[in-house]
């Protein structure tokens, strides 16, 4: 086991302070490790390492300076994933409908009314999700990268995230409607193993929804951890 040195202690502290963004923490650690060893000019003495660490600055303060960029990057990623999820779900819906056409799977007469209602709900929710997704993506994408995580900037990112969350709600409702309608459709026909195709498209939609919810959760968590780092 290696003995802790002032440089390794400092790197551990910095990595821990950057815990709100693990990929960033890994990259920064690697960069800073090279920096500190070079600043110590290859001198392995404790004094030389302490000097290099002192000149580098307080780890928490350095970590704070990454918060604005990190939260913006994660929020932008969420905005992009909303749009990708909407596009992906559109493709799966279209391919499922094409499959129904190919197989000539129609709803039975007694389910036609439910089918129409489901279709109307599905169209409304999907269109709403698409509109909100695009608005959120454009809004988040047009935010400038700030050097500090100040209140106005935090509000902008919060707004962007709120739009992404608002887009996710009707999108999930649209998937629920899709699932119910697929169930109705499959109950109307003798699908057998061929039912696997629409079921797979539903599974793909659900995967996209889970991915989206996970991204939103990660963004909320990162923003929360970044805010608490700033207020500590």
């Amino acid at each position: 086991m290696r003995q802790p040195t002032p440089i390794s202690d400092y790197l551990d502290t910095l990595t821990s302070e950057l815990g709100f963004d693990p990929p960033l923490a890994r990259r920064v650690r690697q960069e800073v490790e090279d920096h500190l060893h070079e600043a110590a000019a290859g001198d392995a003495s404790v004094e030389a390492q302490q000097r290099a660490v002192r000149a580098f600055g307080d780890a928490r303060e350095i970590a704070r300076q990454y918060t604005a960029l990190s939260v913006l990057r994660q929020t932008r990623r969420t905005g992009a994933i909303v749009v990708l999820a909407v596009a992906g779900i559109y493709l799966t819906m279209k391919s499922r409908l094409a499959w129904y056409g190919l197989m000539q799977w129609m709803l039975t007469a007694d389910l036609q009314d439910y089918g129409r209602l489901g279709l109307a709900i599905n169209r409304c929710t999907f269109t709403l999700a698409l509109l909100l997704g695009v608005v959120g993506w454009v809004y988040i994408g047009s935010r400038q990268v700030s050097a500090t995580f100040h209140t106005a900037y935090r509000d902008q990112l919060r707004r962007g995230l709120a739009i992404a969350m608002a887009a996710a709600c009707p999108l999930i409702l649209s998937i629920v409607t899709d699932t119910v309608m697929t169930g109705l459709r499959l109950s109307s026909v003798q699908a057998g193993a061929l039912a696997l195709v629409p079921l797979l498209t539903i599974a793909a939609e659900m995967t996209l929804a889970i991915l989206l919810v996970t991204e939103i959760y990660k963004t909320v968590r990162r923003a929360g951890r970044a805010s608490s780092l700033l207020s500590s």
Binding site: R27, E31, H35, F56, A59, I62, Y66, V145, A147
Partner: protein
């Protein structure tokens, strides 16, 4: 005040060619005559931010020591942005220089 100009300082330090974080700091010290006493770690968030906005690009290289090193260089946009910063700064410095010159003259001639 220095913090407000950090991006310009970092871009200027990279104008002479690609460099890693430590070399950027050395270049700033050398060219400013050691006038800026920022904590060295402050440079890295600025480098990451400038990369995010497309003014810098970066890639990993293996240093002679065998450690991985991130090397930054100006992009075309970065070079353009530096030119714009430089022009604004020269106008500003000229204006302040003129003003301070007048003030100095007024102090020397209280009747003015």
């Amino acid at each position: 005040m220095l913090k407000g100009h950090l991006d310009m300082i970092v871009l200027a330090a990279l104008a002479s060619g690609p460099a890693h974080g430590y070399a950027v700091i050395q270049e700033i010290h050398r060219r400013s005559g050691g006038a800026f006493a920022l904590p060295e770690g402050t440079i890295y968030p600025a480098l990451h931010r400038l990369e995010q906005v497309g003014l810098l690009s970066s890639r990993w290289r293996t240093a002679e020591s065998g450690r991985q090193r991130r090397v930054y260089s100006l992009t075309k946009r970065g070079t353009r942005a530096l030119g714009e910063h430089r022009a604004v700064w020269q106008r500003f410095a000229g204006a302040i220089g003129g003003l301070l010159g007048q003030l100095g003259h007024a102090t020397a001639n209280p009747d003015l």
